[in-house]
Structures are given as structure tokens and as C-alpha cells.
Amino acid sequence: MRVAVGAGSCGYAAGAQKVFDAIKALDLPDCKLEIVGCVGMCYLEPIVDVYNDKGELARYTHVQPDDVAAIFSDEGADDKLILAEDEEILNTQVRIVLRNCGIINPERIEDYVEVGGYEAFKKCVQEMSPEDVIDEIKASGLRGRGGAGFPAWFKWNAARRSPGEDKYMVCNADEGDPGAFMDRSILEGDPHALIEGMLIGAYAMGAKTGIIYVRAEYPLAIKRLEIAIKQAREAGFIGKNIMGIEGLDFDLWIKAGAGAFVCGEETALIASLEGERGMPRLKPPFPAERGYFANPTNINNVETLANVPFILRNGAKAFTQYGTEKSPGTKIFALTGKINKGGLVEIPMGMPLRDVIFKIGGGIQNNRTFKAVQMGGPSGGCIPASLLDTPVDYEHIVQTGAIVGSGGMVVMDETTCMVEMARFFLDFTCRESCGKCTYCRVGTKRILEILERITTGKGKETDIDLLLELCKKVSEGSLCGLGQTAPNPVLTTIRYFRDEYEDHIKNGTCTAKQCTALIAYTINDNCIGCTACARACPVSAISGKVKNKHEIDQEACIRCGQCITTCRFNAIDVS
């Protein structure tokens, strides 16, 4: 019997360690107990997979330490088994990058090798020339999964052709997009896939050194990467004369990022690697010509590189059978926000947005209405309900004003205010602007100020036009992607939800009842005077005698909404 506990960051947050310890304490005979990465169904964590000796899987969900004894008793714990509808979600996906996540032990290279790991790399160095490798990637049409969707082969080829002995293969694992966590999951669940992808890329472009630039906020990912690099080194995949081939050298190390969203931009990332402030510079020269300490450098994102071993092992056709002509393959999306079944899903490109959110994501929490989905993080935009049939691929999503980006999908219902959403993103980009370009540094601040005044009911009639004008200028006057795309959340919300802006400005109302300056909480006649709200109120703004209708002091009220969550009698109105 093999027992595998889902132990990604999400699993641990849900209590996987305690569950693991409880199973260990049972001291089961003939049981191989181990950790695996995240299978992507974060809403079901902690997950325990039990494989019997025939290899058949029983997957238990929402497991707590108290449930463990029952699972391994003769009676079993069928009530903890995964529901058919949840299992269906897994079957609807096409898992290329996530194929091993949640299945193999990420801390054992043997497990990766057993499922065909490092075979693609062996095939490359034994049977293919670097040009062949690049051709295969070209045939696969693999595009960068980090945001821009740039063809991967093109960058590899450019770096290969660049003169210079010292070339660098860099992996951008500084997943900065709020709302996206697929890279973390790959690093935690299948780190060897990334290393193999880097090895293949390095072979193709002729790089002898690799650097993984990973977020310092991902301690578990860093730990598992360190283990994986050590194992790959011991197994002879990293080092000198790899696999006995004279002159085939590759060294790989990790560099922890220090927290700057702008470092997702290639030249800023390189500046950061060089120990400088992470500020982008003018291109050309492109990193492929002059990158890390002026050497030819190629930068790919984690998900992009994790696709590479599959393509080389199975051929480009195995990859292009999925997805669309211009966006082949699969893409991982992080479903979050007001969605029932949040987590990571890997789907073929081109699947309609509606299917992703309703079939796979299980629809909206508390039976509310879908309002919009935010795609592409701070550089992306909000896609409204009327465009739910848009196929999810690079070309179609861009037409909506959003971008595929790194694959974050934050779902919103009618309680989310779209102006406030735009304000939230501008607050982010304004703080993350590196300050180099005036339009980005000052412009995002000005946009933010306008949005702040709209959400607090002080908007002016001319504000929407002013926003549109400013957005255009910020976009045109910025050097890098951060500034160029920072206006997107504002532009898309104005495009699809202009009425909400107008409501805020002209009527001083927030339709979603979210903007605290524009709403008031009052107590209606349902109140039985239970005093629960008065006790919950953090600023003591609610008064009233027991069994008498209470009242809210509007001056003192900070509109935190505590009362409405506490009230069991539907006695609090928001207007």
C-alpha cells in the first residue's frame, strides 16, 4: 500500500502536516507513506491518496487527523472519498505540465525517473543536435506562459546565434501576479520537470550556467528545488561532462528574489540578478544578445520550461493535438475568488471561458450571479458575463482587453465593485512601479487618485474622460510591460462597466454595495434585540437595550460589515 498526502503550501495551510503525522502514528504495516505535491484541487485539501497493491487509487478529501483511523480501518471511511463530480473535474483537464503534481514524491529523483523523467534530455543529447531541439520546439508552437506569449523557440534560437562563450539559461520563478500560483505548484510538486526543461533549453542554446530566480515568499518551493538540484547533481545531470559527454557542462543555482513585481520584466530581472535595483532598460539589445553581465541570456517562465520535456519526449505533434492553431498545447489557470471549486486546472487552449468557470470551477459561491472574471493580473482586465463564450487562448482573450498573462482567473460576483477593483489594481501597480518612467511613476499615482475619489463619492463628471486620456498616455509613455499594461484594469472596467463608474460619480451610489464611503448600514424591524451585533461591532457604534431594536450610529460606523455577518435575523440593511 502507498499512502500519499498532498503537501503543497495549500495542503499545509489546510493542515496536511497534522494529517501526515496522524497516519505515521498509526504505524501501518507494509505502508509506504509519503508526501506529494498539490493535485490542484485546493478546495478539497487536505487530500490523502491511498493506492492499494494493485495500484488502484482511493482519494480521500477534507481529511482531518481524527478521520485517519477510520480511513485505514476495515470499515473504511467512504464518506471522505472524493465525489464523482469532483473527480470529473480532474478528468476534464489535460494535464501535461501538472502530470506528476500530486502523483509523485517531489523530493525523490527516483520517482521522477520512474515516470520517464530525464528521458527527454537523454534523447536530446544522444540523438538530436541543438538545432533539432529548437526545430522541435518551433514545430510545437510553444509560447511563453509567463505573460507575453512570445514563441519560446525564437528566444532560444536568438541566444544560440549570439556570439559568446558564456551563455545563461534563466528561469523566472518570481511569480508576482497576485492571483496566480501555478509556478509555485510546479516547483513544489514536480521540480525535476523544470530542471529537465532548463537542461534541454541550455543544451539547445549552448548555455553552461542556469539560474532560477525564485520568490523568497515561497520557502517550500525553494527547499524542494534545492533538494532536486542536489539530486540531479548526484545523478550526473548537472556538473561537468554530463552523461559522459565531453564538454557538456551545466551548473545550476537558485537566486531568491527580494520582492519586486517589476522583476518579471526580463531586463529588470537581470538587473536584480546582478545585484542592482530591478529597473528595466531599453531593448534592444535584447537579453539574448546582452543579458546577465552582458552575456547572451535566455529567460523563460517555469510553466514554459515544464512543458519542454513532454514536447521533446513525445514529439511536437503530441503537444499540438491540444489547443488551437495559434495557441497550441495546454495552459494552467488558477481559479480563485468567488468560485466554488478554486484551485489549479490545466486545460487545452481554446476552451470557452464559460466551461472553465462553470463546468470545471463549479460556478459561483452561494449561488450568486457571475459578474466578471479578471484575467492576467494587474496587466490584465475584467471580462464581463456577456463574453463568457470567448475561447481561452492568447488571441481571443486579448480582443476582450484582458490578457492570458500567467493564468490567474479571479472570479467576481455582484458583490464586487468594478471601480473598486480597478482601484485595487492601480494601487498595486502604483506601488510596484520602479519609478524610472515618469508616466508610469506619476501617471499611475494620478489614476489611482482619481479612482480613489470616485470610490469615495467625490468623483467629477469629467473623471471618466480624464481617466481614458491618462491611461492612453501612461501606456504610451512607459518603457516596460508594467507601465504599458497598468491601465488595462481601468480601461476594461470602463469599457464593460461604465454604468458603475457613472453611478458612483453622478448618483453617489455603489451598485455592488462595496465602497464603504457610499454605503450605510441600518437596522430594520427584523431586529429582536439579541445584542449580538452590538457586541461584534469593533467601534461600539451599535446601541440598544436587550429585546429592543438596536440602532447604528452613522458617525461612528466604520462600515466593516461585522454586524451583517453576525446578525442571524436578516435585520441589517445596506443602502
Partner: protein
């Protein structure tokens, strides 16, 4: 370094700069090592004491202004000491949509501190983070290495009080 001469001067004296020597030796002559050096410095002191920046600049042969510039550019670096428990509250998109503002309010109300501040007793420091990558369990916060998921204002307050009580109990031992 006139730019950062302020009240931090008062607290810089009791640090032992020699603790940095092994780090500086390790990175001696390594190009582009300012960030890892600063990260390790922060691991040692819990923040970046002003004197450490001058010391690093001197030992790495860099301008002090450059070290200061790098230290203030990145979100990870703190220029002031932090409390015993560092609360990292996620304000990423998913957490924001799922009510992280209310969690922030609850923490601020309970501990009487704002983003970046430390409680008077030196127990808690609050830091707002852009995204912790646990989006499907939003809203989340991390205290130390522990991640707390699906927070409500009530559960947040309870977590903070439990931590404080636990510390109280541990004191007599």
C-alpha cells in the same frame, strides 16, 4: 548617508557587526551578490540595521548609496526591527475579493497597529503582502512559517489571542 539619518540611529548601537563577517567572506569577490548579502543580513538581525549597510558597503567595496538604494527598492527588506510574530497578511487579488480588507481591519483593531507597524509590547508586526500564492484558500495570512487559511475577522482575532496567550503561558517555564 544623510538620507536615512533619523530615529534609527538610537537603536543601531547594540548590534554586533562581526556576525556579518562569515557572510561577507562567503560572497567576497562574487559579482552581483548585494541582494543575497542583504537577505542574509536580515536573517541575522531580523532587519537591516543602518550600521550594517555601511559595513556591507565598505566590505564589498560598493558605494553606501547603492547598498541603501537596493535595500529600499525591494519589498522584502525592512529597515526597522520587527516584533516577535511577523504577521504577513495577503492582499492579493483573490484575498482582496474574498474580504481581506475586513481581516486587515480586524487585525488593526485588535492590535492597534497599521501596516508596517509593531505593537508597543514588541509582540506583533503587521505587513501587508502582495500575494502569498495560496489564492484558493483566500483570505490567508502567514505568521512565521505557519499559513492560516479561509480567515474570518473572528477567526483572525482568535488566532492572535491564542498566540498571545500561548506566549504568556510559556513565560513562567
Amino acid at each position: 548617508m544623510g538620507c536615512c539619518q533619523d530615529h534609527r540611529d538610537e537603536i543601531r548601537e547594540d548590534i554586533d557587526l562581526q556576525l556579518l563577517d562569515p557572510v561577507l567572506d562567503e560572497y567576497k569577490g562574487v559579482r552581483g551578490s548585494v541582494i543575497p548579502v542583504l537577505q542574509k543580513t536580515q536573517d541575522i538581525y531580523g532587519y537591516l540595521p543602518r550600521a550594517s549597510l555601511s559595513y556591507i558597503a565598505e566590505k564589498l567595496g560598493e558605494k553606501e548609496a547603492k547598498i541603501y538604494g537596493v535595500a529600499t527598492f525591494y519589498a522584502q527588506f525592512r529597515m526597522e526591527p520587527i516584533g516577535e510574530h511577523l504577521i504577513m497578511l495577503c492582499q492579493g487579488t483573490a484575498c482582496h475579493v474574498n474580504g481581506a480588507d475586513r481581516i486587515q481591519m480586524a487585525i488593526e483593531e485588535e492590535l492597534k497597529i497599521k501596516d508596517g507597524e509593531t505593537t508597543e509590547d514588541g509582540k506583533f508586526t503587521l505587513m501587508i503582502m502582495a500575494c502569498l500564492g495560496c489564492c484558493s484558500l483566500a483570505p490567508v495570512m502567514m505568521i512565521g512559517e505557519e499559513t492560516y487559511a479561509k480567515l474570518t475577522p473572528e477567526s483572525t482575532v482568535k488566532i492572535l489571542r491564542d498566540l498571545r496567550n500561548r506566549d504568556h503561558k510559556e513565560v513562567p517555564e
